[in-house]
């Protein structure tokens, strides 16, 4: 199998007629970890949601391909089955649906009818991954995200990623609200998945997470697009000096998209 590739070209996205993304270009290959950093309100999370097909966001221009196929033509579930995964910042709580029933449905949706995972194998895999993430076994039978703390929800998102083994994972502020121990655990989960078979986009405000997941590329996001790209050293400089020098260098006064969410 050839290397997975996700290619975003001039992506423009609006919400309720307000343009948020103003031409995003990014190419991610299997095995690469890209960090997208930037202050609040610059459109980072919009990029994540729009790629997954969030119903509120409208793509007004641009192309996205996943392994050569047109991602934007696909329904949300087709995007997932094509290999895209989004670890959400605010995952829904779904009453009455247990975590394990949900995950098994998701795995079987990908495997297709007649090729369902056996219950025993599923339980074994789930136990193993929950162990990596230091999750109590009761999470398997609890209702999906219902009553989970912020940190538990994040771990649960990573658990889903580990179980579904996507080709591209977008982690949308997976570090927010996590203490340092939880952060290390989540990072360990991501690192365990690291392979030429998977590309990762990490969206974050802070460099902190990148101490535990080493990125190959770092991009600075402002005004709804990538304004600067570099290697891991860029993240370190942002951590030490903040974003002001980037704004100065590029002559940006207001880095936001002028729309506080």
């Amino acid at each position: 199998m050839s290397t997975p590739n996700l290619n975003i070209r001039d992506l423009q996205v609006s919400i309720e007629d307000k343009q948020i993304l103003k031409g995003v270009n990014l190419s991610v290959n299997g095995g690469e970890i890209h960090a997208i950093m930037g202050p609040n309100g610059t459109g980072k999370s919009t990029l994540a949601s729009a790629l997954m097909g969030h119903p509120k966001y409208e793509v007004t221009a641009g192309d996205v391909s996943i392994n050569g196929e047109d991602l934007l033509e696909m329904e949300v579930d087709e995007r997932a089955r094509a290999g895209l995964f989004l670890a959400m910042q605010y995952p829904s709580e779904v009453s009455g649906v247990t975590n394990s029933d949900f995950l098994r449905s998701a795995i079987n949706a990908k495997r297709g009818e007649g090729n369902e995972i056996s219950l025993m194998k599923f339980i074994r895999q789930m136990d193993k991954q929950m162990n990596v993430l230091d999750m109590d076994e009761s999470f398997a039978t609890r209702y999906l995200n219902e009553g989970f703390s912020g940190g538990e929800k994040k771990r649960n998102e990573i658990l889903q990623m580990m179980m579904l083994k996507p080709q591209f994972a977008i982690l949308d502020e997976i570090d927010s609200g996590l203490d340092i121990d939880a952060l290390k655990i989540v990072a360990a989960g991501v690192n365990e998945m690291r392979s030429p078979e998977m590309g990762v986009i990490i969206i974050t405000h802070y460099q902190r997470l990148l101490n535990y997941i080493k990125p190959d590329f770092v991009h600075v996001f402002m005004q709804g697009r990538i304004v600067k790209s570099g290697g891991p050293e860029l993240a370190e400089r942002l951590e030490q000096e903040g974003y002001d020098w980037v704004k100065e260098e590029l002559g940006i006064v207001d880095e936001t998209v002028g729309h506080k969410v």
Partner: protein, 423 residues
């Protein structure tokens, strides 16, 4: 009710060899039919509902063994060791005779009139006949079951009754009477269904007396087709520290009046009402749970969920009344309606009536559609829109269905809902 005469009512009573007082109760109710008003239901107009045009069909058969029963009936059976009584139209067509715990009575109402008249006289027809539909029930009572559990006796297995309507314009008026003496424990499952798509009326009553410290759980599952007007009234009277649990599954496709009324008469009584409904087609339903707190330290919890698809309508009423003097009581209620299609309708009416200061109470009600963000979340894991909707709906109802102790009953309710979802 001009097509029916006092003479016919008398014949019904004689055919069951009922005592005179029972006949008098019937005639009293029969005479009141035309003068009594229809029940007053919130936001449901009953003017065009058929309560009185029907045929009393004969069963014309009995079954010796389970495997002779049609699949629609045998699939409902909970457990091969459970005792079950099956009534088709006017009579019992199948009854198991497994050994029951000491002193327990589980029999048809008709035979109870002969063998347990004293008990029947004490408990049967305990509630007022306040509207026309209740009067029709009492005049035409046909079959039903009598369950009696003596003091300190715990039944290990649930008792099951199946009320089965068959034939054009067929009607049935079953009455289930449950008496659980002090510190006894019993679970009862009552299924109501029709094997004919032209049946007309099921007008049933379930009446439970819960003694001091007794535990009674009654699950009623109704699955009638579009043609049927399905009326079920449930009454419970709960003694000191007694515990009543109603599980109500309204899965009929026609017109439904489903009402549970519980009186917590003595101190420390508790009731749970867990109600689910799934409506498709042009189903119209009015589902009410009503609790009266009369003793101190009484507690109640009403949990009602209803899913409406196509053009179905559901009105959910939850009424908690805490009487003066019922101090330290707690009444909670939640009513939620989920509408799947643009023409589906629903309403949740939470009502708390509190005449005592020293109590706690709470309610939550919601009427809505599937949250598009929840759908997005599930679909983002590769689950199709259809499957994701099913998971959400199943989950919405499962917060209640998962409390049903019998796995067989849970499975049968799931299967019915699944069938409606895909129809």
């Amino acid at each position: 009710m001009s097509v029916w005469s006092r003479e016919q009512i008398t014949q019904l009573s004689l055919a069951q060899h009922e005592p005179k007082w029972a006949l008098e109760k019937r005639l009293e109710a029969f005479d009141a039919i035309d003068s009594l008003p229809l029940p007053k239901l919130e936001k449901t107009n009953l003017d065009r509902w058929n309560f009185s045009s029907f045929q009393l069909q004969k069963a014309n058969t009995t079954y010796q063994q389970i495997d002779q029963l049609p699949n629609e009936i045998s699939r409902l059976l909970l457990d091969e060791n459970s005792n079950v009584l099956i009534q088709k139209n006017d009579s019992v067509v199948y009854q198991t005779e497994n050994t029951l715990e000491q002193g327990v009575i589980f029999t048809s109402l008709a035979s109870a009139f002969q063998q347990h008249e004293t008990l029947l006289k004490k408990y049967l027809y305990g509630q007022d006949v306040s509207h026309r539909v209740a009067a029709i029930h009492q005049a035409f009572v046909h079959g039903g079951a009598f369950i009696y559990v003596p003091r300190n006796v715990t039944l290990k297995l649930p008792l099951q009754t199946i009320f089965w309507l068959d034939g054009k314009e067929a009607a049935m008026f079953p009455h289930v009477l449950i008496v659980a003496e002090d510190n006894s424990k019993v679970e009862i499952v009552a299924n109501f269904l029709s094997t004919s798509s032209e049946a007309a009326i099921s007008n049933s009553v379930v009446q439970a007396y819960v003694g001091q410290g007794a535990n009674v759980q009654v699950a009623t599952v109704s699955q009638f087709p579009h043609s049927v007007v399905d009326v079920m009234e449930r009454f419970a009277t709960v003694g000191q520290d007694g515990n009543m649990e109603w599980i109500v599954a309204d899965l009929s496709d026609g017109r439904i009046i489903s009402k549970s009324t519980t009186h917590l008469k003595e101190n420390g009584g508790h009731v749970d009402v867990k109600s689910v409904a799934f409506g498709a087609g042009e189903m119209r339903s009015n589902i009410t749970a009503e609790v009266f707190h009369e003793g101190t330290h009484t507690t109640s919890d009403i949990q009602a969920r209803s899913v409406m698809k196509d053009k179905a309508t559901s009105i959910l009423n939850s009424i908690t009344k805490i009487e003066k003097g019922a101090s330290k009581s707690d009444g909670q209620q939640t009513g939620k309606v989920l509408m799947l299609d643009p023409e589906a309708r629903g309403d949740a009416n939470p009502i708390l009536l509190i005449d005592e200061n020293d109590v706690t109470a709470g309610h939550a009600a919601s009427v809505g559609r599937i949250d598009p963000l929840t759908l997005f979340y599930l679909m983002s894991r590769g689950i199709s829109k259809n499957e994701a909707s099913k998971l959400i709906i199943r989950g919405f109802l499962d917060t209640i269905i998962s409390d049903i102790p019998s796995a067989a009953l849970r499975a049968s309710i799931h299967e019915t809902i699944e069938g409606k979802f895909t129809s």
